[in-house]
Symmetry: D3
Amino acid sequence: MPYVNIKLTGDHEAPSRTQKSEIIAGVTELLSRVLNKNPASTVVIIEEIPMDNYGLGGKSITEVRKTNTK
Amino acid sequence: MPYVNIKLTGDHEAPSRTQKSEIIAGVTELLSRVLNKNPASTVVIIEEIPMDNYGLGGKSITEVRKTNTK
Amino acid sequence: MPYVNIKLTGDHEAPSRTQKSEIIAGVTELLSRVLNKNPASTVVIIEEIPMDNYGLGGKSITEVRKTNTK
Amino acid sequence: MPYVNIKLTGDHEAPSRTQKSEIIAGVTELLSRVLNKNPASTVVIIEEIPMDNYGLGGKSITEVRKTNTK
Amino acid sequence: MPYVNIKLTGDHEAPSRTQKSEIIAGVTELLSRVLNKNPASTVVIIEEIPMDNYGLGGKSITEVRKTNTK
Amino acid sequence: MPYVNIKLTGDHEAPSRTQKSEIIAGVTELLSRVLNKNPASTVVIIEEIPMDNYGLGGKSITEVRKTNTK
């Protein structure tokens, strides 16, 4: 019955459909195994945030990626 | 003054503009009636989540819909 | 299958157990009626926020209540 | 290390890239100055909500804008 | 750099400190393994919701637990 | 009209009432100045998360603080 919300960068960093399925399955399994939560009512929502809208260290990820290698 | 966030599936399951208006009006009225909250400052945000990104029972809704009828 | 999150003031403004049940039932019924969503997997989470932590108009509700009647 | 989520109207009211950078920088600076939080791990996420999906006073912002000047 | 929020029932169903550590470690590892996300900036927040405030199927979990075994 | 949610560590790291007022005022002013948003309907909610429930780098902040100075 838990609710899980995952926010990560979209645009060209967006996960593939297969990766999203793995995340959904993996988080649901983790909560079932560790906390004995019912998988049938576990909700997992993945939100893809444009890189201009995601800030870390006072800068958008768009800017962070320009400075950094990876 | 309450804040309400509703997340539901988008893509071809997305609500119409009229349905969204009904949801906004209905939730605001409910909180006013039951809790005497001021409708003028009640915020309702509806987020439409792609079916690949919405998981229930360890599977994305895209996969769930393939298996299920309805 | 929708997910609903409601944030409102707690402390002495917190809703009673009965009011919370009415909100949960009412929102679930609304989404079922307007959008034909399955009530069985509709999740509603009510969060009670201390009045010092809830801001409107640049002031906490604690301060707002001192100034206003109601 | 704090996490900040800002939801505001998108569509033609969406902030520009420059404005989003200013918001990210400004909130991070505020939390560092007032609370001494480490900017390096402060996360700020801006979400742009379609005007049909954002309700205030029981109406969507689309409807609110038709009635109001500004 | 992803942000993860997990909401689950508190009160006597609340996870132990050890279980919370396992959840934090497990989700971070999953996102690193599947999506190659940097664990150092992955944020995981667990919120324990009182059973009266958590609704499923139109009823609070307090009421659900009275009806159900487990 | 924007909605802002700030999550940070509570327990002995919780902000004081005065600091919370400064954060509410500061964020509201920032959104008004940069985006010309109406302060009267800007909502800011601060949530204090127990240190056991806040994870960074795969560990709870409780564990992180044991290892680190500051």
